[in-house]
Symmetry: C2
Amino acid sequence: MVNTESDPRFQRSQQAILSAARELLLEKGPVAVTHAQVAERAGVGRATVYRHWPRADELLAEAMATVPMPLLANPTIPTRQWLTRELTTLARQLELDDVRAVATTLASTALWDQQMDARRAQFATILADRLAGALATAQVRGEVSLAMPGRDAAALLVGPIYYRCTIEHGPADSTLIETSIAAIGTWTAR
Amino acid sequence: MVNTESDPRFQRSQQAILSAARELLLEKGPVAVTHAQVAERAGVGRATVYRHWPRADELLAEAMATVPMPLLANPTIPTRQWLTRELTTLARQLELDDVRAVATTLASTALWDQQMDARRAQFATILADRLAGALATAQVRGEVSLAMPGRDAAALLVGPIYYRCTIEHGPADSTLIETSIAAIGTWTAR
DNA sequence: TATGTTATGAGTCAAGATGTCTCGTAGAAT
DNA sequence: ATTCTACGAGACATCTTGACTCATAACATA
């Protein structure tokens, strides 16, 4: 055998461990992601978990990375419909337990863990960049006249949804989304 | 001695323990709030911490409660100025490390801890109630014509600030605040 | 000041968690 | 069939956790 990682046994264990870690994060929170608990749930030996991830926090980080976070798809025309669609998707995603778990865990651990902070920054940048980019293009096309910098628009669009889902713990309905879209500037009638 | 809790030694230990727990939460996160670490930092015996708080999570909860969270003061007239003032205060507060630490810790632990979830709900309810109440009054007075239910207005006002501070990790400036205030409805010129 | 009270710190102890290592075995490549 | 290697099981020392004891010093009361 040439490469260790191509071994099916290695792959199986790795996946089982990642799944177990993700389940534990979802059910009991990040503190529950320990070598012992992950091993038991994954049905593998404790030593195997240590072999794959010597440190528990890196296993947690990798398990979190397996949860698909809601980023935004490429902008389409008309931009306002694209916004409605993407923000609605984002809201539905944030209402899922695992996505919300990853998001809130990321936000809190980022304050004390450098690796997590980098991931938080990356996530925030992607969202802001894509929104700002789409809005800038829309403005050039005359679809909208923004009342603020593109950066603020991102916070104004995503913030209410994020707050509603993570703090108020309620559904982000279409009223909320449409209002925030209308708030960022003047949309030209079509 | 009649009452145990009136003993100055008891008071001193209790305060030292609470302060130490709060410092640890701020510097190293909620996982660092253990009996042993708190005892060492507080300069008290490990047994003393157990005597005051048999469970570490309750100590953490109580330490978090000592951090003054930004609620909203009683509404004043004109409502729009009150909103600007209160939301700016809230933004300044959320930019403080300890407040942000408590807020994000609350949001994440609430997903797996019932006690924390109750506190999150209480916090969200207070904010939403006060905002909705103030806005309803303002609408009766003819100050504003709301474009949405009062509940949505709360998320629309607080959400962007919360998102900016906790996810984007940047300052919530006046542009962001003013835009969100303008977004919730039509304000009558004065 | 004298005296009884009590919270405390230091220490002990058992139980459990954690990290490391070895070894026989079974699964995989050739 | 043979070699290689990831694996599970378990042993092991170390650290952590939670509960307990006891002498002491800080406290209230007189």
